[in-house]
């Protein structure tokens, strides 16, 4: 699984970072980004949880 954060949609709610620090980082301005190339299989549920909690619908699945 590959995911990305759309920087134009992300407003820095930081829900993804709070839910899955293994997958996301945030900068000082709240902008979030994905820090792994491939989501490890055991973290796919965490990725889906982050996606389902983003109030801006900013996290996309690039490939399953």
């Amino acid at each position: 699984m590959k995911i990305r954060v759309d920087p134009d949609k992300c407003q820095g709610h930081a829900r993804c970072y709070d839910l899955a620090r293994e997958l996301f980082d945030v900068d000082d301005y709240g902008q979030s980004s994905v820090i792994v190339d491939q989501v490890p299989a055991e973290l796919e549920d965490n990725a889906r949880l982050a996606i389902a909690n983003c109030p801006e619908y900013a996290i996309e699945i690039i490939s399953e």
């Binding site: 900068d27 000082d28 801006e56």
Partner: protein, 405 residues
């Protein structure tokens, strides 16, 4: 004069300060969402109030038609010239970034955000925890307390004062001013007292810090440059006042409502005591179910939105709390589920004005609840004693007497 007659028709003549609405807005929203999801009123000012998640978030993202220049839910004197009879800093900017549209919004927000990043907020945890403990020391042995006035109200104002670099001794004065401008804005005298209190206090603080800079937020705003220019004093003043106003009533209301929930729902209280690992989802769920903050927008040109003929200058009350109770967006929104896994709530807004202090607010709420439950794991409402709720811009309990063994 504001019309305060009891509401008989919520679709065409709603009043967010109606006593019925203050204590139980939830059932009013539920009914309106079925019959009239964007009610209107002419009380105070022609205003519309979207109640569905979809409408609230769509409007929050349409900054071209919905401006943030006037965000007060209770308009007060917002149409008057703030610089009239005043010869200090230029007050026309209001409280940026909250009362600004881009481009002013963009750079003033960027100046604030690093002060509320995760890293910074983590560094405020010890002082917040210590503060909560010392408040609990004051009443934990007494068997009763006012969870709003003695606890919730005391926490955020002191944390914010530390960040701003102003005296925590004035916490009660700050709280009074903030309440005057947010909760009592219908009362011209109180509103003015609060606004002037904040204004003159910060003018004095700014001139002191120009000469005596510290490592606080105020000093940084005064000594920073944006595109080679210092920031206008009026803008610094507005930003400083905003941080105090936005950081106090809001978070205290969230802490108070959460304690009200736990005082009335013994099952949830026991569950959170037994399973402290639930705190992160519990905090999000309490924020969803009891979202404190509604913000306004001003319509920039005549447009139809979802069948409503919005006129230039009308207000739109962005009811984030009602959006968070919309059954189209949340399963069983009326139920508080401390482990709700999917929770896209918008208690901190949506779009470019997303609460700049959301990391701080979340931290304060969870530390305040953790410390309370550690010292006072069993508590309930004090029988027969009055509970009062503030509402309008910010909803939360102001008197919340509780008892414990």
């Amino acid at each position: 004069m504001v019309d305060t007659a009891p509401v008989t028709d919520w679709s065409t003549d709603f009043d967010v300060m109606d006593p019925e609405y203050l204590t139980d807005p939830f059932s009013i929203w539920d009914e309106l969402r079925q019959t009239c999801p964007i009610p209107h009123t002419d009380r105070r000012k022609s205003s519309w109030m979207p109640l569905r998640y979809e409408d609230v978030t769509a409007i929050a993202h349409d900054i071209e038609h919905f401006s943030s220049l006037k965000v007060a839910v209770i308009p007060g004197d917002e149409d008057e010239d703030p610089n009239a009879d005043f010869d200090g800093p230029n007050l026309e900017y209001g409280l940026p970034p909250i009362s600004a549209d881009p481009p002013l919004h963009t750079w003033t927000r960027r100046l604030l955000l690093p002060w509320f990043s995760h890293k910074r907020v983590d560094s405020y945890v010890p002082l917040t925890r210590e503060l909560c403990r010392s408040l609990l020391d004051g009443f934990a042995d007494k068997g009763h307390a006012d969870a709003a006035a003695d606890y919730a109200q005391q926490i955020p104002v002191r944390v914010i004062a530390r960040i701003l670099g102003v005296s925590t001794d004035l916490a009660d004065t700050f709280t009074g001013w903030v309440r005057d401008v947010l909760e009592f804005a219908d009362d011209a005298e109180r509103r003015q007292r609060g606004a002037e209190g904040l204004l003159y206090y910060f003018i004095e603080q700014l001139s002191y810090r120009k000469e005596n800079p510290g490592d606080d937020l105020l000093s940084e705003l005064l000594h920073t440059e944006v595109e080679g220019q210092p920031v206008d004093d009026g803008i610094v003043l507005g930003m400083a006042a905003l941080v105090l106003i936005a950081g106090v009533d809001t978070t205290w209301s969230a802490i108070g409502s959460s304690l009200w929930h736990l005082a009335t729902q013994a099952e949830d209280r026991k569950r959170l005591v037994d399973e402290p690992a639930l705190m992160p989802t519990a905090v999000e769920e309490l924020l969803r179910a009891y979202s404190p903050v509604t913000m306004a927008r001003e319509v920039t040109e005549d447009i139809d939105y979802a069948g409503c003929p919005l006129k230039k200058g009308d207000k739109v009350l962005m009811n984030f709390p009602a959006a968070n109770r919309d059954p189209e967006a949340f399963e069983h929104p009326e139920v508080v589920l401390l482990d709700r896994a999917h929770n896209r709530h918008v208690a901190f807004g949506s779009g470019i004005h997303r609460c700049a202090g959301s990391n701080l607010a979340r931290m304060e709420l969870s530390v305040a609840l953790e410390e309370w439950l550690a010292r006072v794991p069993e508590f309930s409402l004090a029988d027969g004693e009055e509970i009062t709720w503030a509402g309008g811009q910010v909803r939360g309990p102001r008197l919340l007497p509780v008892i414990f063994p």
